[in-house]
Subunit: 196 residues, 2 copies
């Protein structure tokens, strides 16, 4: 899988200067790159519009990060008054926990996920967090209504206006490596979109 | 209808000191109070769990505000790169437009609505905005999955951390006046929740 976009909306304080932080970013980048589909070393997608599920992709990413001592599906409270909820993957650092969320829902759920990361940093429950979501050219082959990087980009300026002295908020836009109409579709179901 | 909660997460700059601003708040408060159901002067709800729709309530509120020269369902762009979308009600002031959104979707959509207000202020497309949503004790009688004030409250601290020199971000939590099992349910449909 390829990283097409990478933005740090907040990168403040001591932690962001440490090797520990750049190691974390490297681990996330490597784990994304090693997510494959229908190929030993590439992510090859069947380019059917809205044809592919997203949860299996996320699961592969989490498995990859576990090799670097990340923990998957940890339940934690990111703010006072908030019920504990699952974070996709976290890693403990000397400055606190670092969280990664892999978007599988619609664009509104990306807003909530990113707000949760911001509140977690403000309330010192985490030292940083990154949201991973597909770019538009990838999203069009995935589950209907999944949020994409371009759709969220107009909101980056809000997070950049947050007064945060210590912490990291990042966003990564991902894409498939290759298209091939002959490979199987990725299974749908439990996609994280609101079901009625 | 009753106002149970009212919070200003941002209230900065000259506009927030003007009579024009306090007039706007009064108009919103009055329009909420004059939203009635099954009674000439009260909002009487059938206390059936998840039994009532929300769109007709919002429409009544918008009609009430129109008496004070507000415009309903105006399409506008709140940020560069964002497609124009409908705002529930707006009013033009000497400092720019003021927006009000009445939540009819799930909690994620409240996050997006509030982020949109914040971005609109940062990019100087609006001077302020208010999000109206039900408190928990009212939401339980409405459409399944509708967001409520208490669920959103843990995120207020994020908006309070925004560096905004001029503008207003507010949130209002509303409730029915009275319960009565004998009154008709409010019709559902077009509720703004994500449908699959």
């Amino acid at each position: 899988m390829r990283i097409l976009k990478e933005d740090f909306l907040i990168r403040s304080g001591e932690f962001a200067e440490l090797k520990e932080f750049s190691d974390i970013i490297n681990e996330i980048q490597n784990a994304i790159k090693t997510v494959t589909w229908n190929s030993p070393d590439k992510f090859v997608i069947n380019p059917k519009r809205k044809g592919n599920g997203v949860v299996p992709i996320k699961n592969n990413f989490i498995e990859d990060l576990k090799r670097y001592n990340w923990q998957g599906e940890v339940r934690m409270t990111l703010a006072k008054g908030m019920n504990p909820g699952p974070i996709d993957v976290i890693k403990d650092t000397s400055y606190g926990r670092f969280a990664v969320e892999w978007e599988t829902g619609n664009i509104s759920s990306s807003h909530r996920a990113m707000n949760k990361i911001a509140v977690g940093i403000i309330q010192k429950q985490i030292i940083g967090g990154i949201l991973i979501l597909p770019v538009k050219s990838f999203a069009k082959y995935l589950t209907d209504r999944i949020g994409n990087y371009e759709e969220f980009a107009p909101y980056f300026c809000m997070y950049e206006k947050l007064q945060i002295a210590e912490g990291v908020i990042g966003i990564i836009g991902i894409e498939h490596d290759k298209e091939d109409e002959n490979v199987p579709l990725i299974k749908k179901g439990k996609d994280g979109n609101a079901k009625k």
